[in-house]
Structure formats: structure tokens, C-alpha cells
Symmetry: C2
Subunit: 401 residues, 2 copies
């Protein structure tokens, strides 16, 4: 596979646009995005597990009941969450308006919103915006769409990959937004992937579920799982490859690329986490079960004490071992080895004398790896997080989500 | 019941002392405490659920196998955690040295440590200190002992209550330390209670377990459960009351006072949480089960986004409802009402128009109450936490725990 430029419009047969419609009064930021496939495709999605799931997610889930879709409409600035029946009506209206301007069925539209909770959508602006946005749709519109879904994000997050499948060139593109309320099981995080691969519904669903568990569900900025999160993929088959079916070589090859791009998107979200000054990769090795490995990696990645220690560039492995100890994962304290990069900090659960200067050199870097070898099984997991800084507090004490 | 002055030496027949032995080189802070009962008493304790439980807790748990104890020895400055066999040897040595100077059995001693993880105790200093501390034991020594267990605490936390039981005056005293790594299930938190009540082992154990679940296990500063936490109670019977047995009027009366003092100690820990500028009381009402009520209250109390919003004095009920939604508690979103103090923010899961000025007036106070009425059952729970401030980051980026 090869990384290429662009995002959701890198694959063939996708158009996109992003414009400002003024969801937040006075803001000139782009806040409405559309992704459109020239033909109806196969789609799959995962949603937040938060019980206060926002109305647009219910509409998207309903529309994706047949795993088919042709367009995606998203706004930022207002989450349309905790808005009850009115919220549902507004989300449905977003799909019907979009369907009408694109000349497709409203049932083939995925809708999402991100922003402030408990506020109704300014439907007059949304309606005018949807009518307007059609004029901006283009094969180069991926970046505008990506910019339009950003909230407290500081960096545009779009990626695209290309690979060969049975003599055909297949592409996958994606755009994502963070950057607070990020936590396993879909936290204020939106991810939209497009591909021109031809793939069966079952194959796409399986691949997407597996990959999400290892990528988007293994990142955390602040441990808060939002009401609005969704990651979805839309495949339109324009690459002309033979339809990818389950348990084939092509399936595995395609899955690898989906994993790669989802990993890149996930890491980009954490790396741009609110106030982040460090990107922390936490590897848990040789756990008894996959679930234990994930629990342990997530527990470390969500510890405020671990995250502040890394912000302070302090080789505080005691906090790592503490988070490991309360993770709920099966652990034998007398077998755990802890590494900071290549440096062993604790052996068999006990303090090691280590070179503080060498540790400081690792801690000064922006990207830091923590390895916990549990030494009781053979299952591994990786989690990603950022440090917890003054800036996180500043952003979240001042921004009403 | 009546609040009285003092702490662990308020009840009859208890002596205590706190001195500086230099556990942290150069520090003049008191760092060694002893509590001594003139006669052997009945004791009960709860310990951290962290799998990397520190060696002193293993020794205490072993010694309390018969639910009897006569003295407590505690140091701050070094947690004696992740110290393996050497740590166990050191903890045992602390009990045997204390036993020797007090002329009691080493098996009747409770031992605890708090401070940096992964560092061995400076046993020469501890040994000299234990020999010295005997000379400082007094009926007025409660405060010195309480000062000696403080780490990043900024306020001494001791409380005492007095009440009548069958014509006798009974007293309970307690001292506690926080103030980071505080989270349900015993996080870097030590609590020591003394009482001159006569009480049966079974009654004390039952009361203590129940009360801890509603108090110390319902507070959170940062969601991190430490390796060293313990809360214990030592009852010496010096008040001369008839022995309190289970399922009696006296049992309930005594339990009420134990609950009161544990609640005061717990709230004091949170109120002095690292960097705290607000004390948040989270009440969850009318949950389906007690477990649901606790889960929901804890989820809100551990949300970084909720905590930073209160630091920013922002009426951000969307973050409260979000934390409720991912708590794992059984919830019907269309039935939840959210209040900030007396002010209704959300009704039946939907945004309410509320008076922002009135909200700001509540938010400006140091003590704030949040009420979530789930309206689907009849079980309630209360959790306490503090806000998340710049100062928390500062303290934890610079302090190696």
C-alpha cells in the first residue's frame, strides 16, 4: 500500500464540499460538509455507546439498516443532542433536504452533528446551507469537508491510501475530527471513510468492526464518551475490482489498508488531543486474554496521573504500574516488566535502578512508547493517548460542549 | 451526636504522636505517626483493590486476621510499594520495632505507608524514629499524628464526635490524608479511626463495610486507585458501654456516628483534592438499583470534562448528561431531570431554557450540588469530587508519587 494525497475524495467516484453556514452565530469557520458518491454504495458504521445517543445517530442507524448509502451530511457547531423529538425531526429534515438537492433517496443518507449539546439546530441556516453546498461539490472537495467538521481540532485530519487488488488500483480515503471527549467506544469523534473498492456487505461489516476495536476504540483523550460519535465507511465499487468476499486473500489485503488508515486517523485525533504536548503509545504484551490486554492498555491511557507525569516529563513508572493494578485485567504483579521506550523501569513488579538521564532523553520527545510485558499469556494490545496539560484545562474550562 | 475537638486521641484510652524522621532527605515535615490504645481492641479495615497492593497492606491484613489490634504505625514520604520481598521485610520490621518499644505483640500492629512508589524505606531512619516516637506519645498527640501522614494535603484532616449510648459517653475520632490518586475502592487515601466504644467484631466489621461503601468509596479526585490505601478503625471499649451487637438500636446509633465521621473525612479529602477550587456533591436519585445509582454518581464525579467545566464556572449540563449516558447505569434518557443546585437544567433528557445568571451565581460558590433524578426506581447515591484545575496539573506534573 502507498500513502497518497487527499482524503475522502481520493477514491474514484466521490465528491465533497465544506462551507460556512453560520451554525455558531458570528463564526466564519466552515461548519457544513457533504460527501457524495456518484453511485449508491455499501456502508457500515459504529456508533457511540452513550445512552444519550444524539438524534442524528438514530437516523443514520435506521438508514444504514440495509447497509447501503450514497451521501453523508455533517454539521459542526451544534451536536443536536438532548434535543428530543425536535432533534429527530431536524436530523430527518437534514437528510430529506440533502436528498432533494442531490436527487437521491433520503434513506441513503448518513447524518451526523458535532458541537454544543442541548441546543437546537438553526434549521433556517442548515436549510440554506444544504441548498448552497450542492454548488461546491467537487473531486477536490475532500479537504473543505474535513475542515468543516473540526471543532476544537487544531489540525486537519485527512488521509488516503492506494493499493493494488487483482490488477485494479483501489483507494481508501478518510477524514476525522477530535479532539475532546475522546474515549473508547466512540467519543466526540467523527470518522468518515470512503473507498472505491467493491466489497460485499458482510465483508465490509466484519472488517470495519474488527478494525475499529483495535483503532478508534483504543484511543482516549479524556475518558469521556460523547453522545454523538460515529465512524462510517462508504464503498462504491468504482475501482472495478472483483467484489471482496469474506475469508479471501483480497479480504485480508483490504483489511490491512482499512486498519492502516483507521490507525492513522485515530493517532491523528490523539496527537491533536486538547492541549496535547505528547503522543503516548501504550503497548501491553503477553496478557492472558485480548480483553485483558485491552483493559490494561486503556487503563494506563486514561490515568490522569500517568498523563500529567508525561506532561511533566517525569519517569514516574509507579503511576503506570498503579493504573495497571486497578485496570481489572488479570495480572501477576511479580511478573510485570515495565519499559519506557527501550529502558526497563521495573522488572517482575519491582523497582529497577535506571539511568535517569536516558529516561529524560526519551521523555523530552513528543512521541513516547510505554511497554508493559505481563508475561502470563500471549495476547497483545495497543492504546494511544496524549498527555494532560494546562492547555487541556484552559480549553475545557472555557468551551461549552 | 455532637462534634468535638480533636481527632484520634479524642476517645478515651488512645495516645498518639507524630514526628519528623527524615524519610524524604532534607524535609522537616513530620513523617512518622503512631496511634496506641492502652488496651488491645477490636479492629476492622478495608484495603485498596489495586493488584499492586503495597507490602505494608499485606502485613496489616495478616495481622488483622483476628480483627484485633492495639497500635498503628504509619510513615509518609515513601509508599514502600513495588518493593517486593524487601518491602515485606521492611513492613514487618516496622511492626516488630513498634511492638518492641510499646511492649506489645507485633501481630497487634497495623502498618501503613504513603508517598513515592518504587523506593525502599530508609530503615535506619525509620528504626531511629520508632525508638524516638515513644517519648512523644500523649493524649494530645492526635494532631501531630494527623500532620505526619499528610503528603500533598494542604489541610490537616481530623474529626471527632461524641454521643450517648446506654448512659455512657462514647467518642469516635479520625484522621485522614488525600489528596491525589483518590478514587473509589481506596485510592491514595489513608483513614484511621479510633473509638472507645465497646463493640463486637461482627458488628464493627458490618458497620465499617457498609459505611465505607457510602463514603470513602464514593469520592474521587482523579480516578486513580492507589497501591497503598487503607481505612481502619480501632475500638478499645474504654467508654464502658454494653458491647454493641448486630441488629440492635445501639448498633444503628453507633453506625450513624461512624457514617457521619467517615462522610466528614471523605469530604475533607475531596475538598482538599489536588488543585481543588470547588467541592462538587453529586446526587443520583430514583435509580433502578443501588449499584446503578452509585455507578451514575461516580461516572459524573470522575469525568474530566465535568470537572473542568466547574473549574471554568460553566453551566455545562451537557457534560453531566454525557457522563450519565456512558456510566453503564440503567437509564431512560427521556426520563432524566438534571439540576444544578435548585435550578433545573434538563427535563426528561431535554434542554431547558434556564436563567444563566442564576446558574452563574450557583457556579461561583465553592460548594456546588448536582442532582440527577433518573425517575425509574427508588435507589439513591451520593458521590463527592472536586474540580480539575491548572493547579492539579502543576502538582502532578512536578510530584513523583
Amino acid at each position: 500500500m502507498k500513502k497518497i494525497n487527499g482524503g475522502v475524495t481520493a477514491p474514484q467516484g466521490f465528491l465533497a464540499a465544506g462551507i460556512n453556514v453560520g451554525v455558531k452565530p458570528g463564526s466564519k469557520k466552515k461548519d457544513l460538509a457533504v460527501i457524495y458518491s456518484v453511485k449508491k454504495g455499501i456502508a457500515s458504521a459504529v456508533y457511540t455507546k452513550n445512552k444519550f445517543k444524539a438524534p442524528p445517530l438514530f437516523v443514520s442507524e435506521e438508514n444504514l439498516g440495509n447497509n447501503e448509502a450514497q451521501a453523508i451530511i455533517v454539521n459542526s457547531g451544534c451536536a443536536n443532542a438532548c434535543t428530543g423529538d425536535q432533534g429527530k425531526t431536524d436530523a430527518l429534515k437534514m437528510t430529506s433536504l440533502t436528498a432533494s438537492v442531490l436527487g437521491i433517496d433520503a434513506k441513503d443518507i448518513i447524518v451526523a452533528s458535532t458541537g454544543v449539546i442541548g441546543v437546537y439546530l438553526p434549521m433556517d441556516k442548515i436549510e440554506a446551507g444544504i441548498k448552497e453546498i450542492k454548488n461546491h461539490l467537487s473531486e477536490e472537495g475532500g479537504t473543505d469537508a474535513s475542515l468543516a467538521i473540526m471543532t476544537t481540532d487544531t489540525v486537519n485530519k485527512e488521509f488516503a491510501y492506494e493499493f493494488e487488488l487483482g490488477g485494479k488500483t483501489v483507494r481508501i480515503g478518510g477524514m476525522a475530527k477530535g479532539s475532546g471527549m475522546i474515549h473508547p467506544n466512540m467519543a466526540t469523534m467523527l470518522g468518515f471513510l470512503t473507498t472505491d473498492a467493491a466489497v460485499s456487505k458482510d465483508a465490509l461489516k466484519d472488517i470495519f468492526k474488527d478494525v475499529i476495536d483495535d483503532t478508534f476504540n483504543m484511543i482516549s483523550v479524556d475518558g469521556d464518551t460523547s453522545t454523538n460519535d460515529m465512524v462510517c465507511i462508504l464503498a462504491n465499487g468504482e475501482a472495478g475490482n472483483l467484489v471482496i468476499e469474506k475469508n479471501t486473500e483480497e479480504y485480508l489485503k483490504f483489511k490491512d489498508v482499512v486498519r492502516k488508515i483507521c490507525e492513522k486517523m485515530s493517532i491523528a485525533i490523539v496527537n491533536d488531543g486538547e492541549g496535547a504536548t505528547k503522543l503516548l503509545t501504550i503497548k501491553v504484551l503477553n496478557a492472558l486474554t485480548k480483553d485483558d490486554a485491552r483493559k490494561a492498555a486503556r487503563s494506563i491511557s486514561t490515568s490522569s496521573l500517568v498523563k500529567t507525569a508525561f506532561f511533566g516529563e517525569d519517569a514516574n513508572w509507579g503511576r503506570i504500574i498503579t493504573a495497571l493494578g486497578y485496570s481489572g485485567a488479570e495480572i501477576d504483579p511479580s511478573k510485570c516488566d515495565i519499559f519506557l521506550g527501550d529502558l526497563m523501569m521495573a522488572k517482575q513488579g519491582k523497582a529497577m535502578v535506571f539511568d535517569e538521564d536516558a529516561a529524560l532523553e526519551i521523555l523530552k520527545k513528543r512521541e513516547i512508547e510505554i511497554v508493559c510485558n505481563l508475561n502470563i499469556g500471549s495476547e497483545n494490545a495497543v492504546a494511544w493517548t496524549c498527555d494532560l496539560s494546562y492547555e487541556y484545562i484552559k480549553i475545557n474550562a472555557e468551551y461549552r460542549s
